[in-house]
Amino acid sequence: MSKTRGQSQVEFLRDVAADGGRIAKAEFSLNRDMWKDVSPTYYLTLDQKGVRSHQEFPWTPELEKYLLQAGVTAASPEEEAERFATILMNNLTRAEQDHGKDYARSVLVDILRGRPEYGLDRLLARIPAYRPSQSGRSFAACTQFLTTSIDGLQNEGQTGLRYSPDQARDLTRAALEILLDETFVISSSDALFPRS
């Protein structure tokens, strides 16, 4: 069975590390564009025995897990927020696969409406999502999965990436703003159909 792109990326970085190399700098961009899907990408500067090279890695869950495990932080808070948003988008996609797209999205909105600490009221007010049906196992499973994704990410920001609690919360908040904006096409709608 052939390797996935993520497996190949991780294998390459493990080989670099095994040879005494290291990731000198990790830049990240979601490459947001009004007309296209985002294309999250890492731009890694590798230091291999004093020789530096700049390499581009399309984001994959496997690569992300490896970089989190290695405690690699992004080059700036803005890039870190986009990286966090990518993780949340990935996990939301999984929830959409498991529970249906619109249902998973309405559960996400429901969770965030109960989290005033993130200050997302302005964006949440723009989203015409119905309250999700709470009967059945889907609600509990989907809520738990998405809650764990959000809380786990913020926690990882502190424990794995060594941000302060305030920094980790701010990054998570910025990531959630991006997630909502991309998922519910808010900025694009404003650009296309300006409100008077």
Binding site: G6, K36, I87, R94, Q97, G152, N155
Partner: protein, 165 residues
């Protein structure tokens, strides 16, 4: 086809799929039936604006024909109402999906045939050629969507459960 039109078609296709996949999350069957028909009309409008005036009647006519074939003792009532009365409400989503699939294939096929009948010397920019290009793009999207449905790729989760402090 412009990027905006493509995005709109993707949205309409995704919304149709979502409704057929979990119709109960979109409301009563009667509402879902109306919504699906409206989405098909909007899709037809994007694909062929010039024929938009007659699209609604065409789709409704096609739906009535389909019901006559699919529902024993069909009446000129909504599908949801007829199935409910016959104790076959559970079959609603499947039957509606058959209509949508057939509608997409038939409507696209008819337009392709019409385009093929056009004089070969049509110039680029001709509305018929543009329409054909739209349909080809749409068919490609349809094939991809079917492949995804047949073997959906599971997204690998970035899991934090094991690293909780």
């Amino acid at each position: 086809m412009t990027a905006g039109e493509r995005r709109l078609l993707e949205f309409l296709g995704g919304r149709l799929e979502a409704m057929l996949h979990r119709p109960d999350q979109w409301g009563p069957a009667l509402v879902v039936e109306q919504l699906v028909l409206q989405l098909l009309e909007m899709r037809a409008l994007v694909l062929d604006p010039a024929a938009a005036v007659n699209q609604k009647q065409r789709i409704i006519r096609s739906f009535v024909r389909f019901m006559k074939e699919s529902v024993p003792d069909a009446t000129p009532e909504p599908l949801a109402v007829q199935l409910e009365r016959q104790g076959r409400a559970a079959e609603f989503a499947n039957i509606l999906r058959k209509f949508v699939d057939r509608e997409l294939i038939e409507a696209t096929g008819e337009k392709l045939q019409a385009a093929q009948d056009v004089d070969q010397q049509e110039q680029p920019g001709d509305p018929v050629i543009e329409r054909t290009e739209r349909l080809v793009e749409l068919l490609e999207g349809k094939v991809k969507a079917r492949m995804r449905r047949a073997a959906p790729l599971r997204v690998d989760v970035v899991d934090f459960e094991s690293r909780k402090s």
